[in-house]
């Protein structure tokens, strides 16, 4: 069976920490802070943190829990689209 990369969320949160994002914060401000930081999203692939944050649903992110929920929501939406759900 092909091995799948499933550590994106870990690397996302590490990148958020590196960007010194604290809460509450607007999505726009978070994107600004994320300048130049990349997230490992596959075995051989990185994605700019700004790109990931820009896709989050809420305009205002109240706390760390909401950030994670928003991240998972956006990831699930991407997967649905990819699978033609």
């Amino acid at each position: 069976m092909e091995k799948q990369f499933i550590q994106e969320e870990h690397f996302f949160l590490k990148a958020v920490e590196k960007a010194a994002i604290s809460f509450p914060i607007s999505r726009e401000a978070a994107v600004k802070k994320a300048d130049g930081i990349c997230v490992k999203t596959d075995f051989d692939q990185c994605t700019p943190l700004q790109e990931i944050l820009a896709k989050l649903g809420p305009n205002e992110i109240e706390n760390y829990t909401q950030l994670r929920q928003a991240y998972l929501s956006a990831s699930a939406a991407e997967l649905k689209e990819k699978l033609g759900y």
Binding site: P58, Y64, T65, Q66, A70, Y71, L72, S73
Partner: protein, 309 residues
């Protein structure tokens, strides 16, 4: 905050952020007279002196429910006291003398002649009453006091945001949750909890901590009055529901501990926040876009709010 609310405007010195507490598993006399109430007050003072010897530098000393009067099942109407009465003045002065905060539970007789109020008072280290909380859920089978209307949360020492639950309050999840929603990071559950309720005591303290991610310090009486026996078993519970200390049953004692109330606040902002997810249900699903659903799908609250007495 209501008319019985806490000191939300005054934020005490946070210091090192570690709250050192002493919990007194007290054995009140079941008072039939005001003289016996005064005797209980004097015994409270003795235990406060002991507490600072065994736990030098402690920030707060906590006594169980009914510490001034016992349950007073015989003459309860005769032993209610005023908020500015001598027994209360004594414990306030002692807090100031020792530079400690204190939590005490007198049965207060209102000046307007209305029913007795089972009242917890938080006294600061200047000897001032920083907050009052009236028990919202009097024990229906045995306690004819007036129910309170407001869950009070007040700023305490070392970054603590203190809520107090009094005995039967703990049997109603709404009290625990209301305290959390008002920002409490530590709940002092003060009780006159009788046998055979040992398991209820333990489970409710742990469940309160787990469901709301805060510390719970349960302080229970230990004595036998004209009708009931109170077993002790006071305990400290961390925000994961682990009992970090459990006092003996059946003996008066004082135990100590240290907690980090601000770690609770930090976890709510920068860690896992069960309260937030309670009213943002399913936020991580694709369709909910990181926001989720609120509490309006629960019919209990809407069905029972605004009902007339």
């Amino acid at each position: 905050m209501s008319n019985h609310g806490g000191n939300s405007a005054a934020i005490p010195d946070i210091g090192n952020g570690i709250l050192s507490y002493s919990a007194v598993q007290f054995d009140p006399i079941s008072a039939n007279t005001l003289e016996e109430v005064d005797q209980n007050a004097d015994r409270i003072l003795q235990w406060m002196d002991r507490a600072v010897v065994g736990n030098p530098g402690c920030d707060i000393i906590v006594f169980p429910e009914c510490c001034f009067q016992g349950m007073a099942p015989v003459n309860w109407l005769q032993v209610g006291i005023a908020i500015n009465s001598v027994p209360i003045q004594k414990v306030c002065a002692k807090c100031k003398e020792l530079s400690v905060w204190g939590i005490f539970n007198p049965w207060i007789k209102p000046e307007d002649g209305s029913d007795i109020e089972n009242t917890a008072i938080v006294v600061n280290d200047q000897g001032e009453i920083a907050a009052q909380y009236i028990k919202m859920n009097p024990a229906l089978s045995m306690e004819p006091t007036k129910p309170g209307r407001d869950m009070v949360v007040c700023n305490g020492p070392k970054g603590s945001k203190i809520a107090i639950l009094i005995c039967a309050d703990a049997l109603y999840p709404e009290c625990w949750r209301e305290a959390a929603f008002k920002g409490a990071n530590v709940v002092f559950h003060i009780s006159h909890w009788p046998i055979p309720g040992e398991r209820m005591w333990k489970i409710t303290n742990q469940a309160g901590a787990i469901f709301n991610s805060y510390y719970v310090i349960g302080v229970n009486s230990v004595c036998t009055d004209e009708g009931y026996s109170f077993f002790g078993g006071s305990m400290a519970v961390d925000p994961m529901g682990m009992i970090t200390y459990e006092a003996p049953r059946g003996m008066p004692c004082v135990f100590t501990g240290a907690i980090s109330p601000m770690a609770v606040d930090a976890a709510r902002i920068s860690g896992s926040n069960l309260l937030w997810t309670a009213y943002h249900r399913g936020a991580c699903s694709a369709d909910q876009k990181g926001v989720g659903l609120d509490l309006s799908d629960y019919t209990f609250y809407s069905a029972h709010s605004g009902e007339e007495n």
